[in-house]
Subunit: 574 residues, 2 copies
């Protein structure tokens, strides 16, 4: 099983009310816009699309016998082509077992509503209705009852509803993430049917789509990738940067770091990033460590899940923010939190400069546990430590009043100016260990773990950490392409992001662009409107959860192509 | 198929606002009382109970393997008997697939609510919960998904609910009819479970149970039958006399007539009967006919279903009311409606005095269509016409100002004093035809239809209509007992009521009491808390709807034993 739940009931967290208040001061305005469906569709088998499922407007191609039968009847009678147009929806009377699929033509995050009227005799029974909402049409081909994955089945977007009174406007109170809405009349009564009218999605986002006016690449494929990238980001921008608006709807540090980068390249909603940084800072453990994610939809509540790299990425996220926006107060408030993460991380480093992560705080890097992550973890620590030193220099700068720096005295950290010399020494020790013990200079590749395993993740992160120097970085990524491309066994756009960024960083722009075209473009070829949580080109139906039903098809960590292109290939926007 | 829907879209109805206002003036106070479950139970197979299902408190006897397994684990560990007590419910953590069945120990009509708390880590997914509510435990043994009956599946009392925020008090907004509530946790997440606390039913009725203080029979079986009879009636007394609080929840004339009789013998809520009479009177067709039922839960709306006997029973219901309560205004208002029903009925009578009902307004008598109903229909008309004459005499009485009688001039009915002589002549013609053409004096039984069929219903209704005279009535019922007992192929307590009443009317009190003990007592033996819509002793799982899932297990037309006993055997209450 690729996915493992951490349960740490004994860890105690603090809630820093002052920092929570600052988070709340940055709470975003949520913009709402009404969207109407574009067409009525049927499910049809389509081997060229994700999971083999597509949609069509022609009921003759439906997978459902009753829909094909109705289409045949239509052909025998008068031409009723028009009935299948969305405008004709109110004239279509649905009875027991009938269904209609609304295609909104775009991904929506928000609320669904529709008018329901009775057609026929007096309403002698309630209406029993099933509503399913799906980001990709393949979700509608799956039967939720058959779900046996290990994530909660409660994430599958379906509702069973009894309506005792018609006509009514059905306004589903919950928020959904969807392009398709399937309305199935489980039952009316033999004496009457129902019609639907004025279906509408009230789409919500903290991103102001109208204001987002970055130029788009002329290249058609890159333009499509950018558009889907921006849409994915916008859909995840809610009260916080959610990882996925379908599931889990919460704030993960690893996702936040990448969302923030894409955000600077597009909407540049600085307050939303600040809000998320403050939320993490406000909910550390008693000994100062940050959890991998926090819940914000009910109360502010930290998750008891810890990932070595995710905790460190708080430093990255603050560093990246301050590269774009000057904010001495933010630095003053959050630099101490960074110090605590670094101190905590350093506890896992041996005297020789080797990182040894424990089981209780593993390195994530990617969902896959089929490769050794020791070297990638070492590289992440180096990568972040460099950013930490940058922050330290900024924090020591007179612009940031030193007297207000409040490092944790217990951790050995001096109050006031951070001890940058100490951390520089530690950085040297980490890199020295990496070069002397983990780098195979003959093969121009890093090894990982006791078996000196070769894998792509080690190279990617060591290049991003810039351990071997510019020329060697290029050579390493050339060897990576030679040895590990096409990438196999990796399903997360999160890992693909780092592969692409490492290619760019090493100067292999052509290879980076090819990867973006093939990987994110591959999702679009399969029908994506937004980029997915998971896409493994060599096994497109992979899910770490035991089922694709609960996968998120609009996922934060997949939104980065627009950032990568804007930063490393700005000329494509010309 | 024993059940047939009428669909008459072309029939136009009037809405008499003045009469609707009088109906509203009689709108009852609905009394609410809180009821808590008595115990936690498991389903177990029990051949002695309805459909072979019973409940027990011992999980070792559960039909579910997981519950038996938990019970075995309990035995291996410390004695956790207490955990199965309802008081221990809040300590029981439920996770994916777990369920608990609450037994309220009595039939409830009303709202269900329960506290739900999370137990474990932060709530990283919604709770997905299924709530099923059942009048009899056998309902819980059926899988609603498998339902293929022809009544709407929407009547099956189940809800699927997502709860995004916990803790919460779940207050289901719909009204249900239940003794058992099954809570099934479809899913939480591996990181947490849920507990339930403070389950409660808010029970609703227009009957003031505290004020109902009729004495009960000393005989244990008759006492139980009376208690269940009164409970059945009380549960159906809502905003109108509903036929069944689970299904259809509406006002049928045939049920109203019997409910009203039981009501006079117990709660004697006169206003509620008046309300229902006014509702029917207010929603006749353009030509004055009354539908078999009206809807009142949304708007006041007549059903487009017509039954010959049900329309006539409006006259019976008014007659019965005025036997108990003096109300000249009611008579003035409603006598013209009675005249219209009689006139309409007379259109189906030939010159020879034979009734010939058409397909568009059939005689009901009973669900079964396996016997000929011509003679029973003729008898119903005679039965009601006698009551009509009584009403006419009352209407002609100076106490009821004649000038205000507003018969329909178009029907040949004189305004003012009703033409009682004419109707007496017609009555004679009907009875003469019955005795000369339908009565087999040698066999002391009435025949029915072109094949001169012998059946119980003909005898029962001819005796109730008192066509043959007192002595012959007794003989007829003796022959009925000889030829047709034990009754077969009859599933409605409605028909059984008339059989029992005919036995009493004919002086066969012992046989009547035996039938009540055997038939209504039989339901109690099978586990009834309230009397059912359907019970066929020779085929207990019979349903005219293709499934027992949608049967109503608390049904108006089954509540009459208390009336029968109070009227015909008052000595049992001594």
């Amino acid at each position: 099983m690729a996915f493992k739940f951490q349960i740490n009931p004994d860890i105690r967290f603090i809630h820093d009310e002052a920092l929570l208040a600052k988070a709340d001061a940055c709470r975003p305005v949520i913009h709402a816009r009404a969207v109407r469906p574009r067409r009525l569709v049927c499910l049809q088998q389509d081997p060229g699309k994700y999971m083999g499922w597509g949609v069509c407007e022609d009921e003759r191609k439906s997978v459902r016998e009753d829909e094909r039968e109705r289409a045949r009847e239509d052909e025998r009678g008068s031409a009723r082509e028009d009935e299948r147009r969305v405008e004709a929806l109110p004239e279509r009377v649905l009875r027991r077992g009938d269904r209609v699929i609304l295609d909104f033509g775009r991904h929506c995050v928000g609320h669904f509503s529709v008018d329901i009227r009775k057609s026929g005799c007096a309403m002698d029974a309630p209406l029993y209705l099933r509503v399913r909402l799906a980001e990709v049409c393949a979700e509608l081909a799956e039967e939720p009852k058959a779900y046996e994955g290990w994530l909660s089945r409660s994430w599958i977007q379906e509702e069973y509803l009894h309506l005792d009174v018609l006509p009514a406007r059905l306004e589903l109170p919950r928020r959904y993430s969807f392009r398709f809405v399937e309305l199935t009349v489980i039952d009316t009564s033999p004496k009457w049917g129902v019609t639907f009218a004025n279906p509408q999605a009230e789409c919500l986002s903290a991103a102001e789509e109208e204001k987002q006016a970055i130029p788009l690449p002329a290249d058609e494929r890159l333009r499509a990738i950018c558009e889907v990238s921006v849409r994915t980001l916008a859909e995840c921008m809610q009260d916080v940067f959610e990882d996925g608006p379908k599931r889990d709807r919460r704030l993960w540090l690893g996702d936040l770091r990448l969302q923030a980068l894409a955000n600077y390249a597009t909407f540049d909603n600085a307050a939303l990033v600040k809000r998320c940084l403050y939320l993490f800072a406000a909910m550390a453990t008693e000994d100062g460590r940050l959890p991998a994610c926090v819940f914000t939809s009910q109360a502010y509540e930290p998750d008891d899940t810890f990932l070595f790299d995710y905790s460190l990425f708080f430093i990255s996220a603050l560093h990246d923010y301050l590269q774009v926006h000057e904010d001495p107060e933010l630095l003053r408030d959050l630099y101490p939190v960074c110090v605590r993460q670094m101190n905590a991380a350093w506890e896992s480093v041996g005297a020789d400069g080797a990182l040894h992560c424990g089981e209780d705080c593993p390195v994530f890097i990617d969902w896959s546990n089929d490769f050794n992550k020791d070297t990638a973890g070492q590289a992440v620590l180096i990568y972040v430590l460099r950013q930490f030193l940058t922050l330290g220099q900024m924090a020591g700068d007179p612009a940031c009043a030193p007297g207000q720096m409040t490092g944790n005295p217990a951790s050995g950290q001096m109050a006031g100016v951070p001890n940058l010399a100490l951390w520089q020494t530690r950085l040297d020790r980490l890199t020295a260990y990496a070069m002397s013990e983990l780098f195979d200079a003959d093969r121009h590749l890093f090894v990982s773990g006791p078996d000196r395993e070769l894998n792509a993740a080690s190279q990617v992160w060591m290049v991003l950490a810039n351990v071997a120097g510019e020329a060697e970085n290029r050579r390493i990524m050339e060897e990576t392409v030679k040895n590990f491309f096409p990438v196999r066994g990796i399903a997360t756009p999160y890992m693909y992001h780092h592969i692409a960024e490492a290619l760019f960083a090493a100067g292999l722009k052509t290879e980076a662009l090819d990867l973006i075209r093939a990987y994110w473009g591959g999702m679009i070829d399969l029908g994506a409107d937004t980029f997915w949580e998971s896409y493994q080109p060599d096994m497109p139906d992979y899910s770490p959860y035991g089922s694709t039903s609960v996968l998120s098809y609009c996922h934060a960590w997949s939104c980065t192509p627009v950032y990568l292109l804007r930063r490393y290939a700005p000329e494509v926007f010309a």
